[in-house]
């Protein structure tokens, strides 16, 4: 498995925007529309890269650095993220802490960029983002902690390598609850319904979109691409757990994981079609509820 380290980052870098395409296509299908082409997110990124930028009068260098730092931190995270049973490029004890730290760094950069505009709307989005993130971070840690307790190692690649069908049989309720937590985090962290609506057009109700209102040109391209990457990364934490195909054959394992990602994207699309958004005050309950599920899972495994 050692020599397949490039699989996870390459797949993520190439296929992440496709995930968004599948989500949008699913939503359109359920609503009876034809929908945008599957590759539309790629065209969006490419188009933004070709444009110049417009900057707000108040902005400083922090505004320009935000999208760059965000993208770089997520890209570095790809080095330690396994893809299903395929090992990551780097694996060391405690690499999950590094992953959580990189997520936090990217978010901090985007939040500061939003505050740099001096716009009230973006301040509002930044405030909501840090609020939900402060709750989502413990939720992610509890979920990872439970997996660590189940597998007995604390590095992402061995943890995911150890999740086999036998592990599922051994700790079914625990792993199922953790999977639910990951799914909720996938929705929370990636501006999906029922937490945030990526297609909304009312600034007062947005979270992530309102933070990036004033970004344009290459900066916006970076933000869109980084958003796709983040969705891919959190998604692969979920898929690696629920698709326990660990044959040792990279084609089989990778193929299963890719299929899992596609199914996840369809599922997210279905959730978006079937649910309405929560009111903002209910979102914290949603996240804390997800964290509680994993805490319960942990206790279930202990007794």
């Amino acid at each position: 498995m050692q020599n397949h380290w490039f699989v996870s980052p390459v797949c993520a870098l190439l296929l992440a925007p496709l995930l968004l395409g599948i989500v949008n296509r699913t939503k359109a299908f359920v609503a009876g529309r034809r929908g945008p082409p599957l590759l539309q997110p790629y065209w969006d990124v490419a188009k933004c890269l070709r444009r110049g930028a417009v900057y707000g009068n108040a902005t400083s260098r922090v505004f320009r650095l935000g999208p760059v730092v965000n993208l770089a931190s997520l890209a570095a995270g790809l080095l330690i993220l396994p893809f299903g049973g395929i090992a990551a490029a780097a694996s060391f004890p405690g690499d999950l802490i590094v992953l959580v730290g990189l997520f936090a760094l990217g978010r901090f950069a985007i939040v500061l960029a939003a505050l740099d505009t001096g716009s009230s709307f973006e301040g509002m989005g930044a405030s909501r983002e840090v609020h939900f993130a402060a709750l989502a971070e413990p939720a992610l840690l509890v979920a990872l902690a439970t997996l660590v307790r189940v597998t007995g190692v604390f590095s992402l690649t061995p943890v995911y390598g150890a999740i086999t069908i036998a592990t599922w049989a051994h700790a079914l309720p625990t792993l199922a609850l953790v999977a639910v937590t990951f799914l909720v985090l996938e929705l929370v962290e990636n501006t999906r319904i029922p937490v945030d609506d990526p297609t909304t057009h009312l600034e007062l109700t947005m979270i992530h979109e309102v933070m990036v209102l004033d970004h344009s040109g290459p900066d916006l391209a970076y933000i869109q691409y980084a958003a796709a990457l983040k969705m891919w990364m959190l998604g692969s934490l979920f898929v690696g757990l629920v698709v326990p195909v660990r044959s040792g054959n990279p084609w089989l394992d990778g193929g299963a994981a890719l299929l899992g990602m596609a199914v996840l994207a369809v599922a997210v699309g279905m959730v978006e079609s079937a649910m309405a958004r929560y009111r903002l005050v209910q979102v914290p309950q949603f996240i804390v509820g997800a964290a509680t599920l994993s805490a319960v899972a942990f206790i279930v495994f202990l007794v």
Partner: protein, 656 residues
Amino acid sequence: MLSLALLFLGGLIAIVFRRRVGLAQSFGQIGAISGSALGLFAAIRVLIDGGVQQVSAAWPMPGGGLHLQVDALSAFFLLPVFGLSVVTGVYGRSYLAGRGEGSAATWFHLNLLTAAMALVITAHDGLLFLLAWEIMALSPFFLVIFDDRTASVRHAAWTYLAATHLGTVFLLVLFVLVGGLAGTSDFSGYAAVLRDNPALSSAVFLLAVAGFGSKAGIVPAHVWLPEAHPVAPSHASALMSGAMIKVGIYGLLRILTLLGPPPTWWGWLLIAIGASTGVVGILYAVAQHDLKRLLAYSSVENIGIILLGIGVGLLGLAEGTVTLAVIGFAAGLLHVLNHAMFKGLLFLGAGAVQHAAHSLELDRLGGLLKRMPWTGAAFLIGAAAIVGLPPLNGFVGEYLLFYAGFFGLVQAPVNVGVAGLIVLVAMGLISGLAAACFAKAFGIVFLGTARSREAEEAHESPGPMRWAVAILALLCVAIGAAAPLAVSALAGVVATATGLPPAGVRASLASVANPLGAAVVVFAVMVVVAALVWALRAWRLRRMGIRRAPVWGCGFQQPTSRMQYTASSFAQPLTTQFRLFVRNREILIPPSGYFPAASSYASDSGDPFLRLLFAPSFRWFSRVISRMNVVQPGHIHVYVLYLAATLVALLIWASL
């Protein structure tokens, strides 16, 4: 060598006594910098050589001895004390310029504080320790009361004095108790009585947690920090927050080295105190409107993180899990050093803001990054470091603690596993809230547009103040980049603090230093990617051009800077969610009618512990005490009578 440094410091302090001389500033500064630099080198040499330096001298007073000792633990805690003292020495002169004769007194007390802290850390004798402790506790009072014409400042100073003496009471009991049993006031004698006496050890442990904890600022004894830090001169706040509260941690660790083997519940107690102190501290920090109050509450949070590390370490010792013990202690110790760097930096930065914009009220600042690029950039590094973001030093300390949490998870004993989970959840919540807090602090103060005329006319601070923050910012980056080295270097200190064999400690630290090396490589890749992405962006924009325009205002064309999101609105969702703990008082007069006239909103983030716990109990106390006034009529002849009566009573007692 060490006493030389101390004497040097002490001698130069005396020079500062020459108040009225205009040279007082220079002498104070030279004394602080040279004395501390010398002390710093001495401490580093002890750390590198790994030996123990001792100085003993005759002591003219009864019941104690002048016995100083510097082992690795002392030397380690001397680093933040002397290091910050050097930096604040560089900073202080420009900061105090134009403050008149008060500045000489400030220098005197600042240097006295440094010397007293060094003495506390090196003292190897109970009486000497208490004496130095009292000097260390008193000199900040005079720093806090710097601006003594304002009522709120005097109030803050009294709060500090009351809080610090409440803590000292516990220490007095501790040292009298142990000293009485041991028959000596020398620490070596203490260890002899305590080693084999679990009950006494536990009692001493509790007294130490209460006494040293109140100095360090554990909840609910934290109330003096947010009162005292904002009103002291900023470099004094930096020294108090970066170094003085750590002396409380030192005291706790020193006592721990004297005690017998820890039972499990010691670890649990510290984990509980650490977690609650951390979460409560950062929640209050999020709610603050005043930059230095916010920083003071964040110090409370960081003390919580340090105690969490020590608690995990104690649990590891009690359970016999050496690696857990080593990593827990290492996390706590490294965070002591890191916090001194970034909190010192942030307080000095806040001082620069106050110097430039004449306000610390978050909602009167804004847009300062463009006017103060150096201070702003350093403040950003400090903010990112304190949040624990990679690749800075804050991340390294928190990595160790998270690592300890995960390491605990995979251990067989259920209680260690649960402790690991608690550490992870508490640290996750703390770091998430810290991100919110410092996004707010940096974002509202330095980004956006100015919210007041003073902020608009702000200017970059003078050279030495910039250098001071730049040095600390560089240190934050350097420790982050050299993370594995920094962690391995802790071996001697951790071995002294835990009493474990050095070889085992080194092996355990290597088990976490090696992964950190890999993490540093990941961060290096990140920096390279960022550079590439930045270059791509610059290349595209050179071809396509940049335009400037007003930000999107939803169609509104005349936005003013006062329409920006404010500090309170930024924090409102969090304070509302955690209203159980954060009791913001809000006064709202909503607009009403078709043509609304005046409407207003005010919120006040007072400390419920001060309001609901301490204020009532102190009122009760003062009612009781005031009854005693009867015996104090204020006539000298009555007091003379008391003296005579006491003498007679003593004589009778002696003759019995």
